[in-house]
């Protein structure tokens, strides 16, 4: 049972973090929503549809952040063979895929009133779509192989190859001069975005990060329990057989 010594410590840590994350979410989400929908003024160019930005941009940030979590876990899984790393990658993937899909959907719903079209094939949209496919591929490998260890490490290899896509997403708006607007918050020379817009954006971003931590830890605990259950059932079968 020494394999679970480490996960047991992790579960204790997770149980300590979870209430805090839930607290942050309960605090930031209502206030962020209030700022985003009610208190912030309409943009002088975009009108009220700028409010879509307050969920679109944090979703897109989380899509990339989750991929970084997944890729780091994959690296740890391959290099150090840390048992928790495989679990972390598997737990993060569906959350990341959801955030990516949401970034694409909210982007389409923002694009229609602003650009007059739901979708354009520019660098940013295409590379985020590739990110979504990478999440699907990662999860498909987990699905396709019977042995957890092999499946996890094969999926990890794909996740690491896909890291190439992250800088492409980040810089696509600078490399391709198209409809999607360039970065205005995370820039070397400081944000160019107006303070009225920055407030709700950051509150929503913190809320989504707290959400990620909560669901990520739940899913990791879930995967640990799955493995514990499998081991226990095996031992029961062995004891009776």
């Amino acid at each position: 049972m020494h394999i679970f010594a480490n996960p047991a410590r992790f579960v204790r840590l997770a149980n300590k973090i979870l209430p805090w994350a839930i607290g942050v979410l309960a605090l930031c989400l209502p206030y962020g929503l209030y700022l985003a929908i009610v208190a912030s003024p309409p943009d002088y160019q975009q009108g009220d549809s700028v409010r879509i930005m307050y969920i679109h941009v944090p979703s897109a940030w989380m899509a990339m952040f989750t991929y970084m979590v997944m890729a780091s876990a994959s690296l740890a899984a391959i290099v150090w063979r840390h048992p928790l790393a495989l679990i972390a990658g598997k737990a993060a993937a569906p959350i990341g895929a959801t955030f990516t899909a949401l970034a694409l959907i909210t982007g389409a719903l923002w694009g229609k009133p602003m650009w007059g079209t739901y979708w354009v094939w520019d660098g940013r949209l295409t590379s985020v779509l590739i990110l979504f496919f990478l999440y699907l591929g990662y999860m498909a490998i987990w699905q396709a192989m019977d042995d957890e260890e092999t499946a996890g490490r094969a999926a990890s290899i794909l996740a690491l190859v896909g890291v190439v896509n992250l800088p492409i997403i980040k810089f696509s708006v600078d490399w391709w001069n198209t409809l999607h607007q360039p970065a205005s918050v995370i820039r070397l020379d400081g944000p160019t975005i107006h303070a009225d817009l920055l407030g709700p954006l950051l509150w929503m971003a913190v809320a989504m990060k707290a959400y990620f931590i909560i669901v990520f830890l739940w899913r990791m605990k879930l995967e640990i329990n799955k493995r514990k259950l499998a081991v226990l059932q095996m031992s029961v079968v062995n004891a009776h057989g």
């Binding site: 295409t126 590739i130 591929g137 498909a140 490998i141 094969a154 290899i157 690491l160 190859v161 896909g162």
Partner: protein, 227 residues
Amino acid sequence: MTNISVSSVFWSLIKRDIKLAWSQGGAAGMTLGFFLIAVTLFPLGIGPEASTLARIGPGTIWVISLLACLLSLDRLFQADFEDGSLDDLAFSPLSLELIVTAKAIAHWIATILPVILISPLLAALLNMPNLGYKMLILSLLIGTPALSFVGSIGAALTVALRRGGVLLTLLVLPLYIPTLIFGVGAVEAAISLTDPFPHLALTGAVSMISLIISPLASAAAIRLALE
């Protein structure tokens, strides 16, 4: 001494794989056939109007070469994996990284190169403007190595699976998108008399990156399957 044997094993592995691809039961001939037939389906499906065909020509040829490449990839390591010769190769002086590189190179020469050579003929069938031919071949030559190399990662990841073909497609196709975009971009730039060089440079960059990454990733995946 060891240097000589490493390079000679490397080249003989490439030669062996090319020979196997063109021998009976090899995938190269069938891939070429697929390419021919699939491209001729487009005029039949879209209609024989010359101006329409001319507009979709470069894209069609690029997409079909991509699919033709995919079609031949799922057996890239599988035959050697099943009959155990991959295990033997793993004990040869060649590192696994070099083995997968050799097999990807052989795949490109045996399967993709014929497709490239025949592509001007099909471009003519699709009524592609004369300005595009040189750039079509050039962009295919520069871009398709990335298809073989990136494809080798997918082939290595799915080598132990009985029905790996569909999963392979799901894994590899998204990674083909950059090559497709820049490759078609180069041909279209040449046809519209703008500078194709930036597209071509990006196509080459994708090939270079895949040349660096894919031997490492494929070898890691093969090691996983051989364990």
